[in-house]
Amino acid sequence: MSVVLDVENLKTYFHTEYGLVKAVDGISFNINQGEIIGLVGESGCGKSVSILSVMQLILTPGEIIEGKITFEGKDLRQFEANGPEMRAIRGSKMTMIFQEPMTSLNPVLTIRRQMTEILELHLDMDRASAGERAVELLRMVGVPDAASRIDDYPHQFSGGMRQRVMIAMAISCNPMIIFADEPTTAVDVTTQAQLLELMKDLVTRLNTALIIVTHNLGVVARYAQRIYVMYAGRIVESGPSEEIFDDPQHPYTIGLLNSVPRLGEKHGTRKLVPIYGVPPNLINMPPTCAFLPRCTYKTAQCEKEPWPALRSAGDNRYLSCYVDVRGKQ
């Protein structure tokens, strides 16, 4: 398996009038061909900004401060954000599925127009063959009666169907990597199950790498091979998903897992253990660990030292914490 994307020490800051927001503060991750990874965290932790940075879709006042983004052996940061190289990659080799399919599809253009545009632009197809290919793609993602529905407008599709159209667009140019940013948050659970199974089947068949960005631990538990847990702009823990769920070592990961109700638990047997406090405001953060005010394992060292760097914690596992929580849970 070869590495498709390797991100090293990526920092994206926003210069706002209230102060500096370190939305992404030195994260590193990689993904192999055909692999599914999960990027988990709460809203505002920087997970969306991370993937937008990789695609160089950060607008002012945001700025990628430093970091190396290696995609297919090339460093993407040497290219202009709007230059021909990035434009050739975005939407073709590197695609994205957004959370809200209604706002990410253009409401005044037919699905045909929106799908063929990509194919004509990136694959140099003529209009007729692009149309045929688009119908074929819609069939692949399970849109019934694709040949006639392709001339409909987005509002004529249901939420689940619109998301299928988004998936069809994302796979249309045989991408190397797909970023799915909360792909199923806006749909119902039974539709969520349909869409996730579909995405998994497609990426397996096309040998595409898939990054699922989500706050739902259940979604990544089922599909991701590896998981990165983010908090306040940094990765606090990463590793194979079974190990992360079986033996979480960062206090935040432990807190997240203890705070969600699980299906099948008897009513009244377990009280949820919430994480006290609120996620931090990212403006002008203190240098210490951002989770410190909410942490139940903190020591004197945590109060004094800066936020710890990721350290190895076993095979393929990394952790950003001074405390060894094992045996304390």
Binding site: E42, E197, P261, H267, V278
Partner: protein, 327 residues
Amino acid sequence: MNAPDNDLMVEVKNLKMYFPITRGILRRKVADVKAIDDISFEIKTHETLGLVGESGCGKTTTGRCILRLYRPTSGTITFNGKEITNVRESKLKPLRSNMGAIFQDPFGSLNPRQTAGTIVGTPLIVHDMATGSELNDRVAELFNLVGLDPGMKDRVPHEFSGGQRQRIGVARALACRPSLVICDEPISALDVSIQAQIINLLEELQEQLGLTYLFIAHDLAVVQHISDRVAVMYLGRIVELTTSEELYENPLHPYTQALLSSIPIPDPKTEKTRTRIILKGEVPSPVNPPPGCHFHPRCHMAVEECSRERPPLRDIGNGHFVACIRI
């Protein structure tokens, strides 16, 4: 708390709520959206009844009918032994002080120009329950009750975090000491780490104040955690109703089974061994629902009869109700 004689707080019988679709200049009625299509259930005093289903299944409409924010098309709603289905608007006020409501969006459901103290105190003024220093004391008491510092009562909603805002919503719902609280998706707009705080708060308050909850949500794991009994809705009808343990251990309706199996569990080992029932197609429109059992076009157990007659919600023992002819 004015406890009723029997242990039923709410009794809903054959409730229907249709919303007309009108066309043209004469606003001629062309069809109905059958948001609730003949449902019956009860809420016992001090229990939490969960109501789950996908968007558009009628769970919010059910909550609003009980609050009498809508006048139901037909059927009866009995609250504390009194029928409230057709009580006139002007007579609803005393009734509403006995019911609280917590809404989904803590951003949209609080007036951005009012202070937190005003928001929580307004129900008390409306219902003539407190004035002057008594009002201030009660507001402070409510703030403490939901875990907010009373010193923050002069702040406006945007100065609070999402979780704190939802606490204000809870305090407002409890201001008039209601016996029934309708919780309509109270945690789905909150961050994962905050959701547990609000769930625990609701559980503690129920114990402390002896509240009865109708807990409406789409997340079955949350509903199962907090509820004593759960009703599953599909396209305006209740398809299954039983205790939350029984629902998980022995789901009988094919829709419930599919719903349970689609909920991802945060544990890769369990996930690997679970079989998933992936439903085909989508929820049909409530304007023109399929004949017979609403679920039959997507059901793997469906037979010809399913499309003919509506299956009644029947008791199959131990208070486990299911609406399916194949069970």
